[in-house]
């Protein structure tokens, strides 16, 4: 390619017995946006770490504007104009935005930092790309979206001409993601070249000019975004046809859970404002909304970790006060928490320990943990739910996100719960795992479990839910049935636009 900003030629990298990158070549034109698409473990991040000098490749080379980059030298990569925006931000929360941006950019032996000049340069970049941020704000006080902006600014401040973003939307809300991609497109028009790593089909189709698909450490395809589609990309990425399952019609049965006029106040903030919903056996009720609108509190309320301040909860026809965690488990309420690493599983403990923690009394004998029963139970989950990458005694943090989620789902579903609270169950998972998780939720629905699906993914909710309610700023819209919902209507509902008349007509 003429005018290539970056050429990656025949990169291979071996970790132990695992060939993370196998003879990968790609090029990036000036002003172009290339998406590096692949599932977790496909070698995307390894390739970018080689590009940025964090790893030394076993063979192959990197050319920037035709000149070879010395391997394994982050500083040389920065100087050559590569800027990296990591998935887990490389930022210091206690320092100011300006300090984060400036660190390492000046000779260490200068007797005084050129703070004023740096601030002017930063503000120049901010106004050129429309990225507003207060240089003197403490970084930890900023939102996640703003912190990512600082990461990008840091790269631009180092005069990056090639920007690499590693799963940039993993931590963003939908709105923040849209804003990010419009910024990236603007940057490309200004002459920057961009690579972003992703496993989300929607966003690579929406934002990239060209898409390079990696699978198992190899480049399997390269497509122009204008000449491909999501189905083809999904197949290339996974290596076989994957279709996300869609619910089949069914008749919901009796009401198992009814929540009426419930409010929850936490630290003086009303997180849930007089919400109403009913949940029936054999249906999926979708609660859709942008993160941070009270979903977490709702999930915690039904899992027994938050207590209500007002309102009534009726479980299996009987009014109950507040659920306790133990009560929830005993009542047959399964829970898939939103934050699987912190609330769903304990990474340092073995798979079998995580599998039995919430039913410990059953796996105790004479006050001692019955290890063999526990491990047998874990083995059952592993087999039934296709958890790959570990034995019962493997430490849980070694599992990939998708397999950890299968473990959590399995722990909850294996004993056919009457209710399942699934909060953002497919968040951050790759395409194959998403399909597997969805299939499990639908199977639970077929078997008569009442599923409450809390999600911010429109496609997910439309594919799985029988009825949908939007959550906005702690308030819950009246339900609409899946038949009468489309993306536009749900989008409006997520923005808080619903008419209260519905409440009467749709009250079930």
């Amino acid at each position: 390619m003429i005018n290539a900003a970056l050429d990656i030629c025949g990169i291979s990298k071996l970790f132990g017995n695992n060939l993370a990158n196998d003879d990968i070549s790609l090029s990036l034109g000036k002003g172009e946006i290339v998406a590096l698409l692949g599932e977790n473990g496909a070698g995307k991040t390894t390739l970018m770490n080689i590009l940025f000098g964090h790893y030394v490749p076993d063979s192959g080379k990197v050319l920037i504007e035709g000149r070879e980059l010395p391997p394994g030298k982050p500083r040389a990569a920065i100087r050559a104009g590569i800027g990296m925006v990591h998935q887990h931000f490389s930022l210091a929360p206690n320092l100011t935005v300006l300090e984060n941006v400036m660190a390492g950019t000046e000779s260490l032996w200068r007797l005084r930092s050129g703070t004023d000049a740096a601030r002017q340069k930063l503000q120049g970049i901010c106004s050129r790309f429309g990225l507003t941020v207060d240089p003197h704000a403490r970084l930890g006080d900023l939102s996640v979206g703003e912190q990512q902006r600082v990461e990008i600014l840091k790269a631009l401040y180092n005069d990056a001409r090639i920007l690499v973003l590693d799963e940039p939307t993993a931590v963003l809300t939908n709105l923040e993601s849209e804003r990010l991609f419009s910024t990236l497109k603007y940057m490309a028009r200004e002459g920057l070249s961009l690579i972003f790593i992703s496993h989300k089909l929607d966003e690579v189709m929406a934002a990239a000019d060209r898409i390079v698909v990696l699978r198992g450490g190899r480049k399997v395809a390269e497509r122009l975004a204008s000449k491909t589609n999501k189905a083809e990309l999904a197949e290339l990425m996974v290596g076989r046809k994957v279709a996300r399952p869609v619910r089949e019609p069914s008749t919901p049965r009796e009401v198992v859970l009814e929540v009426a006029g419930v409010s929850v106040i936490i630290d003086g903030v009303e997180r849930l404002k007089s919400i109403d919903f009913t949940l029936r056996a054999g249906e999926v009720l979708g609660i859709i909304g942008v993160s941070g609108n009270g979903q977490t509190t709702l999930a915690h309320l039904l899992s027994g970790t938050v207590s209500r301040d007002k309102g009534v909860v009726v479980l299996f026809g009987e009014p109950i006060g507040d659920l306790s965690v133990e009560g929830a488990v005993l009542a047959g309420i399964g829970r898939v928490p939103e934050d699987r690493n912190n609330e769903g599983a304990i990474g340092e403990m073995a798979i079998w320990e995580n599998a039995i923690l919430e039913r410990l009394p059953r796996f105790s004998r004479h006050g001692l943990v019955d290890r063999s029963a526990g491990q047998a139970f874990a083995r059952m989950i592993i087999d039934a739910f296709d958890v790959r990458g570990g034995k019962p005694t493997t430490r849980t943090r070694l599992l990939s996100g998708g397999n950890m989620q299968k473990l959590i789902l399995g722990r909850n579903l294996i004993e056919r719960p009457r209710i399942l609270i699934a909060a953002q169950p497919a968040r951050g998972l790759d395409e194959g795992a998403v399909a597997a998780v969805h299939e499990r939720l639908l199977q639970a629905r077929r078997e008569g479990t009442a599923v409450l699906l809390i999600s911010e993914d429109l496609d997910e909710v439309m594919a799985l839910a029988d009825r949908i309610q939007a959550i906005v700023n702690g308030r819950l819209s009246p339900p609409v049935s899946a038949q009468e919902a489309d993306a536009t209507k749900l989008g409006l509902m997520m923005a808080g636009e619903w008419n209260e008349e519905h409440e009467i007509s749709d009250a079930l």
Binding site: N49, F52, H54, Y55, P74, R75, I78, M84, H86, H88, F89, S90, L91, A92, P93, N94, L95, E99, N100, M102, A103, G104, T105, E106, S107, L108, W109, R110, L111, R112, S113, K154
Partner: protein
């Protein structure tokens, strides 16, 4: 009551405050520098003891006083190197390594001292730093004897607090050190070598601890005895928190503690009749705990403190 108030009106109290504060200032600055780079250095108590011993020993064997301080700094730096090798390169627990350094350095001091200095009824002495006469300032009424009758190392320690504050907050080197203590991965991504920063900070910080110890034997007193550091190192560790990891506040904290300490000494003389003196000895520590509780709640700990850094691992 008047007798208690009179204590504050005596120039001697304030002169003692500066003298007592000096080793605390040096030790606190040293510990603060280490912690800003992300390494807790509990070796301080032992390093101060060793500095006190080796500095004194050098002078006792004929070196001049400044060479004595330099020897103490070098010895401190060597223990810093040991601590850094264990915690930075090998990534071992900073608590355990620090306590190990303290136990080793203290015992090693006593051993060397016993080996090289003959046992005598009264401990051998050297000629310590003398207060310097500052023209015009030292002859001011009250202020002169209160503030301007110190030895040069005391003025040096105060100046050093200001210099270190400047370096940490106004220079690229200081920013690189702070960045390393907050997030070494981010520092690495910006082209800063976190290993070099941590080694440098720990070695230099430990050298300051060594000098702080040597001040005790070369300026405050004129002889060495094994228990002389007496927990000052631990006070410094607390002062770092009290100071929210800021050198200027470390200076204030050290002076405040010294004020409590010299106040209780004089209070013993005034009120000591019916009260055991141990009560007075507790006062500065009790006040320190109270001050620590008040100040430390707002402190922002360096985020990577006590976290070993390994390249490429997140």
């Amino acid at each position: 009551m008047n007798a208690v108030i009179d204590i504050f009106a005596s120039a001697g109290l304030w002169a003692a405050v500066l003298r007592i504060a000096t080793p605390l200032i040096l030790g606190t600055l040293g510990a603060l520098l280490c912690e800003r780079s992300g390494v807790l250095n509990l070796g301080i108590e032992g390093i101060m003891t060793f500095g006190a011993m080796i500095g004194w020993l050098a002078v006792y064997n004929g070196a001049n006083l400044w060479t004595g301080l330099l020897v103490a700094a070098l010895a401190g730096g060597v223990f810093g190197l040991l601590h850094a090798a264990l915690t930075v390169t090998l990534g071992l627990s900073q608590h355990v390594s620090g306590l190990g350094v303290t136990l080793f350095a203290s015992s090693f001091s006593y051993y060397v001292f016993r080996l090289l200095v003959p046992v005598a009824g009264t401990p051998p002495t050297i000629e310590p730093f003398q207060p310097i006469d500052l023209p015009a300032l030292s002859s001011l009424p009250f202020i002169g004897p209160a503030l301007f009758t110190q030895t040069l190392p005391t003025y040096g320690a105060i100046a050093l607090a200001l210099v270190l504050g400047y370096v940490l907050f106004r220079t690229p080197l200081g920013l690189a050190i702070r960045m390393t203590g907050e997030n070494p991965h981010a520092a690495e991504a910006q082209g800063i070598n976190p290993m070099v920063m941590r080694y440098g900070a720990v070695i230099f910080g430990s050298a300051l601890m060594g000098v702080g110890g040597a001040f005790l034997t070369l300026s405050a007193f004129n002889s060495f005895f094994p228990t002389m550091v007496q927990g000052r190192g631990w006070i410094c560790i607390a002062l770092v928190v009290f100071a929210s990891w800021r050198p200027g506040r470390a200076l204030i904290g050290a002076l405040l503690f010294a004020l409590f300490d010299s106040f209780q000494l004089r209070l013993q003389a005034v009120l000591g009749g019916g009260v055991p003196y141990q009560i007075f000895l507790m006062i500065p520590y009790l006040l320190s705990i109270a001050a620590l509780v008040l100040m430390a709640r707002r402190a922002r700990v360096p985020q990577a403190l006590m976290q070993p850094y390994r390249r490429g691992e997140r």
